[in-house]
Amino acid sequence: MGGCGVSGAVDTATVTAAATAARTREGCALVTGASRGIGAAVARALAADGWPVGVNYRSDVDGAEAVAAEIRGAGGDALAIRADVSEPGAADALLPRLADEFGPTLVLVNNAGLTADNLSMRLGDDEWDRVLETNLTAAFRITRQALGSMMRARFGRIVNVASVVGVRANPGQANYAASKAGLIALTKTVAVEVARRGVTVNAVAPGFIDTELTSDLPKGADDALLDAIPARRTGTPEEVAACIRFLVSDQASYVTGSILTVDGGMTA
């Protein structure tokens, strides 16, 4: 099993006995919004490192079951698990079930996110609330509930999927930007609170990644966007997943409170 997937592709490698042995901790990983896109790629990557994975979905049960089946087919362990993370009871719907199935959640990837774009003058309360609730508040609530077990285990990995939009302006996305900037601040504060218990908390800030979230841009906007990206291409979910896989690994145990930007140079 190699290190970070420098070729860009994290294949669903067969989970070798070595990987499982290397991950000696009794516990599992939860990836929210893992039925597709970055979340699905992260679930596969963590499973390849030996983690049993809770593949959370809100409504795309087929997508989540497919990811879980693919992981199991490769020799890993996974459970598709339903919850709308924006609901206050989401942590209660997820963590105890995973604890019964795999043991305590020691790796949490807060990836579930959505957009509801509009210029600020026309952005409605519902659009604002929905995005903040799913992208930021949900991450806080699940983090709050997961920390106890991580602290007792003297090991934890929390990775929040933020965005370059949390750092640089993007007209039409005030709600999304605020939620991602909030996620970055949340990352740093929680990291500092729990660092001495062996729990690291980091964020990745993806740029323009090829997923359904970014697929419905008008053609003209596409070209303008590529001009703004030094790498002159969009990124893949696997390239983001490889970074999260590293942050979750034992090698990253001295990395905490940091933001890893994955944007092909866009915001450099």
Partner: protein, 81 residues
């Protein structure tokens, strides 16, 4: 969870927890103050979680604010366990 838990058992558990957090056992007397012991809010939060998990006693924020010594914690748990 034991049906009747004695104050001595609670005291031992609390002291064991603080030693686990890095305190020297001989420093952790009932009169020892948390601020003198270098026990901070994160340690107390973890202690509260242990107390809840093992004795079913929930500590509210106002409870926690009033805890100054090791003995305070033992008394509080013993009163509610």
């Amino acid at each position: 969870m034991p049906e009747t838990v004695t104050k001595e058992q609670i005291q031992t558990r609390v002291i064991d927890a603080l030693v686990e957090f890095g305190e020297e056992r001989e420093d952790v007397s009932l009169e020892a103050k948390f601020e003198d012991l270098d026990v901070d809010s994160l340690d107390l939060v973890e202690l509260a979680q242990i107390v809840e998990d093992e004795y079913g006693v929930e500590l509210s924020d106002s409870d926690m604010d009033k805890l100054e010594t090791v003995g305070d914690v033992v008394d509080l748990i013993a009163g509610r366990a």
